[in-house]
C-alpha cells in the first residue's frame, strides 16, 4: 500500500471521528449525564414524591434541582487515571457524599469536544463548571464571556476573565519535597525523573524535583527523560517501562514518574527491578506496597471540593494551591511507612516549613522557562 493513501485515509477518518463523537455528545447531553445523588435520601424522597404527587411532579422537581448543579469536565486521561483526573473525581464525589447534592460530569474523548462540552453545561444551567486540565484554557477563553452569570473554575492554567477562578498548584514545591526524599533514599546517588508529554508544566515538576535532590546531595545526578511530545505520551506504559530500565542502567535507584498512564509502566518496572519509585497527583503508594517511596500529592480533589462547596458566584481570580494551604504535599501511609525513616520525615517537614515561611525559595520553571538544577 502506498504511504500517501494511508495518510490520506487516516486524516479523513480522524475528521470523521471528530464528527461522530461530536454528535454523540449531543445525544449524551440531552439527558443528565450520570446524575450522582447522595446516598439513599434521593431514592426515598423520590418514591415518596411519586406516591403522593405522581410522576409528573417528581419530574419537574428533578429538573428544577438539576438547574444549579455543579458540573465537572475530565480531560482526555479519563476520570479513573489513578492520577490527576481521578483526584478531581474523588473531590467531586466527596462533595456529593457530604452534602447529598448531585453533579454532572463528562469525560472528554476528543479535543474537539472541549468547547462543546463547556457550552452544553453552561446552556443547561450547571453552575459552577469545573475543568480538570490545562488544555481547556483556549476553549474557556472563548466561552467564558458568553455566559457571564456562570462561574467557571479551571485547574492548572490561568484564564483571565471576570467569572473564572484559575486554580494553579505549586507543583515545584511538592516535587522539591519528594526530590529530597528520593535523594535520601538513593544509595547510588543517582535518581531519575520520567515525564509524560514534554510541556512546561511537567518541566516544572522535574525542576522542583531536581532542586530537592540537589538540596540534600549537591553531587547527586538527576536523569530526566520525557516520554514524548504528543498526547499519546500520557498513555504509553511500554515506553515508560523502557525508560525506567534505561535509567536503571545509568545507575538510578529512585524514579519519579509524572506521566499519567505512562507512570503505571514506570512504577511496575521499578517494582519488578527492585528499585523505588515516586508516584504523582493522587496517592499511588498502594499500587506497589513497599516499593513506592512516596507520592507527590497534588490536591486536585480539594480544589474541586472547594469549588463545588462555594457554589454559584464563587470568588473568582487567581487561586494558588501550595504547601501553605495544603495544595501539594507528599503521601505517607501504611504502604510506605517502612521506607520513610524518621530522619527523612523530619528533614522534609523542616524544608516544608521553610518553604512556607519563605526562607527557602523553590525556583519555578514556568516563571522564566529555565531551571538552575537541571538541564533539559
Amino acid at each position: 500500500m502506498t504511504l500517501g493513501k494511508l495518510l490520506q485515509s487516516l486524516l479523513t477518518l480522524d475528521r470523521l471521528r471528530g464528527h461522530l463523537l461530536g454528535d454523540h455528545l449531543d445525544l449524551l447531553e440531552s439527558r443528565p449525564i450520570e446524575e450522582r445523588a447522595g446516598p439513599d435520601t434521593w431514592e426515598t424522597s423520590m418514591s415518596f414524591m411519586k406516591s403522593i404527587m405522581g410522576g409528573a411532579a417528581a419530574l419537574a422537581l428533578t429538573a428544577g434541582a438539576a438547574l444549579a448543579d455543579p458540573a465537572i469536565i475530565f480531560d482526555l486521561g479519563g476520570k479513573f487515571d489513578k492520577s490527576f483526573n481521578e483526584a478531581a473525581f474523588s473531590g467531586a464525589q466527596r462533595w456529593a457524599e457530604e452534602t447529598g447534592g448531585s453533579f454532572r460530569e463528562i469525560e472528554l474523548q476528543n479535543e474537539a469536544q472541549r468547547e462543546q462540552a463547556l457550552r452544553r453545561f453552561a446552556e443547561a444551567g450547571s453552575n459552577p463548571i469545573v475543568m480538570a486540565g490545562f488544555a481547556f484554557a483556549s476553549a474557556l477563553g472563548e466561552v467564558a464571556g458568553e455566559y457571564p452569570d456562570t462561574s467557571f473554575v479551571i485547574i492548572d492554567m490561568v484564564v483571565d476573565a471576570p467569572n473564572v477562578r484559575s486554580v494553579v498548584f505549586n507543583e515545584h514545591e511538592g516535587s522539591y519535597l519528594v526530590g529530597m526524599m528520593a535523594a535520601m533514599a538513593s544509595e547510588s546517588d543517582t535518581v531519575g525523573f520520567i515525564g509524560g508529554m514534554d510541556i512546561p508544566l511537567i518541566r516544572r515538576f522535574a525542576c522542583g524535583y531536581a532542586q530537592g535532590v540537589k538540596a540534600v546531595n549537591a553531587d547527586a545526578t538527576v536523569i530526566a527523560n520525557m516520554t514524548g511530545t504528543t498526547p499519546a505520551a500520557w498513555n504509553d506504559p511500554v515506553k515508560g517501562s523502557e525508560l525506567t530500565k534505561a535509567q536503571i542502567s545509568q545507575g538510578a535507584d529512585v524514579v519519579f514518574a509524572a506521566a499519567g498512564g505512562t507512570g503505571v509502566g514506570v512504577l511496575q518496572t521499578a517494582a519488578d527491578e527492585g528499585i523505588l519509585s515516586v508516584g504523582v497527583d493522587s496517592n499511588q503508594n498502594y499500587l506497589h506496597s513497599g516499593k513506592v517511596l512516596t507520592s507527590m500529592m497534588k490536591r486536585v480533589d480539594n480544589a474541586v471540593y472547594n469549588a463545588f462547596s462555594d457554589g454559584p458566584g464563587l470568588e473568582t481570580g487567581f487561586n494558588v494551591m501550595g504547601l501553605a494551604n495544603g495544595g501539594v504535599g507528599y503521601a505517607l501511609d501504611e504502604h510506605n511507612e517502612a521506607l520513610v525513616s524518621a530522619e527523612m520525615k523530619a528533614a522534609v517537614d523542616e524544608a516544608s516549613m521553610k518553604i512556607q515561611a519563605g526562607e527557602v525559595a523553590v525556583h519555578d520553571y514556568m516563571s522564566d522557562e529555565s531551571c538552575p538544577a537541571l538541564n533539559f
Binding site: M1, T2, L3, K5, L6, S9, L10, L13, R17, G78, K79, F80, D81, K82, E86, I223, N225, M226, G228, T229, A232, N235, D236, P237, V238, K239, S241, E242, L243, K245, A246, S249, Q250, G261, V264, G265, Q268, D272, L287
Partner: protein, 325 residues
Amino acid sequence: MDFLTILQVLDASLRFATPLLLACLAGLFSERAGIFDIGLEGKMLAAAFLSAAVAAMTGSVWIGLLAGIGASVALSLIHGVASITFRGDQIISGVAINFLAAGLTVVVAQTWFGQGGRTPQLSGDGRFNPVDFPGAVPGRELADAGPLAQLYSELLSGHTILVYLALLIVPLTWYVLYRTRFGLRLRAVGENPAAVDTAGISVVGLRYAAVLICGVLCGIAGAYLATALQAGFVKEMTAGRGFIALAALIFAKWRPWYALYACLLFGFLQALALRPDLITSVSGIKVQVQLLDALPYILTVVILAGFVGKAIPPRAGGQPYVKER
C-alpha cells in the same frame, strides 16, 4: 561507552522490536495475499486487552494468550468478511477496526473491572516472566563478568518466551511463503488472483487463510505488550506500534528476513531515543530525541521515494477479486 551499555541498548531494541516484528509479519501474510491491513494497530490493542483481562480473571497467562489471539482473529474475520466476501474498501475496513478496538477495549474494561478502562495488575502466573538461560549471570554481578558472559546473560537470556517465538516465526514465515505450495499460491493470489482462480484454486479461501494467520500473529503481538512487557492493559497502549509495523513492512519490501532487519532497526532507533546521553557522549552533538522518534517514518518515506531500491507492493493488493462472469 562500554560494552555492557551497548548490550543494554540492544536488549531494549529487541524488546521494542518484538511487537513490531509480530505485527509486521502479520501484515506480510495479509498483504502478500492482496489484503491491505491497516487494522494491525486495532487488532493488537484488542488482543492486548483481552489477554490481560482473561489472564487477570483466570490467573493463567496462557489462557490469556489464547483469548488475545481469539480477539484478534475475530477482528480479522470482520476485516475478511468486509473486504473479501463483500469486496469493501480494505483501507476503510481497517481503519474501522482500529476505532472499534480503541473504543470497545476501554468500554468493556470499564464495565468488567471499573478501573477506568484498565485491567487489574497481573502477577505471578498471570504474566509472561523472563526465561533465564542456564548459567546466566544475574544483573547485579554482570558488570564484573567477561564480555561473552555479558552477551549471553544480558542480550540472549532473560527475555520472555514470546520474544524467542517471534524470532522463530521469521524463518517459519520464509519457509511457508517460499518453500511450500500454500506459500506459492498465497503470493500468487496477491499478484494475479485471476491466474490462481483459473488454476481451480479458491481465491477467497486463500485470502481468508492469510487474514486468519494475520489475526493470530497480531494476537501474539498484543498479548506480548500487555502480559509480557507490561502487567496489564492501559487504554491506547499500543501507541501507534501497528503503524510503525506497517512502515517496517514497506521498508522491508514485503519480505520476511528484511522484515526482521527493519523491525530490529526501528527497535534500535526507539531504544536509542531513550538514551540521548549516549549519542551526545559518542558524537559530541546534542541530538533531539524527537528526530530519533521520527526516523522510522523518514526512512520509510526515503524508501518509498525510490532512493534505496524500489518498494513494489503486491500487484493485486487492495483490489477485491471479482470472478469473471
